[in-house]
């Protein structure tokens, strides 16, 4: 069966792009404000800008929550099947994650270059990859390192985005009673499960040690999580009744 992904992809990517541009502008503004505060005459003040990847992941988590339902409705109204709508949504969000990661590298790269040339080095600009694998506060990343950093961010952002989609789809499928039960259970489980695991002697440290050995292990972990959540999302959507608001 031929899938009509092109138009759905174009619509889905474009509909989230505007919010992504606003997000990037806000991040730039935050960086600018931090830099002005740190460089502009306050000798003791220091500014740290290391949260772009996480911020982008949280932003895309929200996009994952809000976009899936409206995009599915629109696609089904306009003759695109739920499978094609879902696949194109996954790829549109992956493309957007990649775009955000690339923009992140451009911002951090430019800011790091600016910091190195500035007389006052009170601003620390970095990102997740740098903190996890380089641990060098004032290092300016090379091209290959930027690629690795971007890949790390793409993995994180995409997986988080699919996680947001999962919550949206799960609550879409649940009836009122189950919505309340699940909403109450999630924070309880988040606290109880780690405690139970610790009680049972489960130690996650070896896994994190393994992941910190190479950025590729981290990227692989993110991809495995993304694929796993993606499959669950499809199972949730496969037989869902797509209704208007």
């Amino acid at each position: 069966m031929k899938m009509h992904l092109k138009s759905a992809f174009r619509y889905q990517f474009k509909s989230a792009l505007k919010s992504a541009i606003i997000f990037c502008l806000i991040m730039l503004a935050i960086l600018a404000v931090f830099s002005i505060l740190a460089v502009g005459g306050y000798e003791e003040s220091r500014a740290t800008f290391v949260g772009y990847g996480f911020s982008a992941a949280i932003f895309m988590f929200v996009i994952g929550i809000v976009s899936i339902r409206s995009d599915l409705r629109l696609c089904l109204q306009l003759g695109i099947s739920r499978r094609s709508a879902f696949v194109s949504e996954i790829f549109a969000l992956l493309a957007l994650s990649a775009a955000l990661a690339v923009v992140g590298e451009l911002i951090t790269g430019a800011a790091q270059a600016a910091v190195l040339t500035a007389p006052s080095k009170h601003v620390f600009v970095g990102d997740l990859y740098q903190m996890m694998y380089l641990q060098n506060g004032f290092l300016q990343l090379g091209f290959f390192q930027h690629i690795l950093s971007a890949l790390c961010n793409i993995g994180l952002i995409w997986a988080t985005c699919l996680f947001g989609m999962f919550f949206s789809l799960m609550f879409w499928r649940l009836n009122k009673a189950w919505t309340v039960i699940v909403a109450i259970s999630i924070p309880i489980l988040l606290n109880v499960v780690p405690w139970l695991l610790a009680k049972a002697g489960f130690d996650p440290a070896p896994f994190f040690t393994w992941m910190l050995r190479s950025p590729f292990f981290y990227i692989l972990t993110c991809l495995v999580i993304a694929v796993f959540i993606g499959v669950i999302n499809w199972l949730l959507l496969r037989r869902a009744n797509i209704k208007a608001v």
């Binding site: 069966m1 009509h4 089904l76 003759g79 099947s81 739920r82 094609s84 869902a240 009744n241």
Partner: protein, 284 residues
């Protein structure tokens, strides 16, 4: 070239919305899908457009199963009661989006109809009144040029003038570019002139599926003094009987036998037939 529905069943929990429905919507005809509230009309149209997943059974468009099939789904456009576009989208952007998905979307025609109905295309969809929200969806439906056009309560919230305008435009469209049109409506009297083939659904089951002319040709109304009517009805299939004073009126299905003196026979229109049929079903 048709929509073929085979052994379709849809359950919502304990409620059976569609019960083993088998039906065919042939090429280039206007179908009326009639039924009381909760009969299963919207569910049927929802499954045809893959918005709802059937419990069992299949729907095929031109021989292709609609489930997860873009080729089949792109041939069908459903103008539903509710809006499926993002509410913060403007009418103009919705037209742009429809154009992106349907290469045959007639943008100029959509703009022309918007002007004709007085629809402000700069307005956001959520800002439209109930009537204009319906008009927006109707314009999309009339402009997409798909081989199968489905309308679920198309004139919801429309005033008489706009309803008349829509029926005329639909007929013009059909005359110009014949396609299969399915109209699900409660306003049977208004749509009766359009409907070539009637499908009546009740409690999720198809109880009538035949050309509208056959449906009403076989049904007539007999009125006259109560005793005479009762005597006449003794061996007839009576759908409904109404008594007003000494005068009795009955709706009868079947051939017209010679009328005794004092009784008056008249034809029954689609709406009256539908009401009579529903009342008969209620009594069962």
């Amino acid at each position: 070239m048709s929509i073929e529905i085979k052994n379709l069943t849809k359950n919502f929990g304990d409620t059976c919305a569609l019960d083993d429905v088998t039906l065919s919507f042939g090429e280039n005809k206007i179908f009326g899908l009639l039924g009381n509230n909760g009969a299963g009309k919207s569910t049927l149209l929802g499954i045809v457009t893959d918005r709802l997943y059937p419990t069992s059974g299949t729907v095929e468009v031109d021989g292709e199963n609609v489930t997860n099939n873009d080729t089949a789904l792109s041939k069908v456009f459903l103008v539903a009661e509710q809006n499926m576009f993002p509410e913060d989208m403007s009418v103009k952007k919705a037209f742009n989006t429809a154009q992106l998905f349907y290469p045959d979307f007639d943008r100029a025609y959509a703009e022309k109809l918007s002007a004709k109905f007085g629809l402000n295309t700069k307005k956001k969809i959520k800002a439209l009144s109930t009537g204009y929200s319906s008009i927006f969806r109707l314009i999309l439906g009339l402009s997409v040029n798909t081989p199968y056009l489905l309308f679920d309560e198309p004139v919801l919230g429309l005033d008489a003038q706009h309803r008349d305008m829509f029926y005329r435009l639909l007929m013009e469209k059909y005359a110009e570019k014949p396609c299969t049109i399915i109209v699900s409506t409660h306003l049977i009297a208004e749509a009766a002139e359009l409907i070539e083939h009637t499908v009546i659904i009740r409690d999720g089951r198809i109880i009538r599926d035949c050309p509208s002319s056959d449906l009403t040709a076989n049904v007539y109304s007999v009125s006259g003094p109560g005793m005479l009517v009762d005597a006449y009805l003794s061996d007839k299939h009576v759908l409904t009987v109404n008594t007003l004073g000494g005068l009795k009126t009955a709706c009868v299905e079947g051939g017209t036998a010679a009328l005794p003196e004092g009784l008056v026979l008249s034809r029954v229109n689609l709406q009256d037939y539908f009401i009579s049929l529903m009342e008969e079903e209620d009594r069962k």
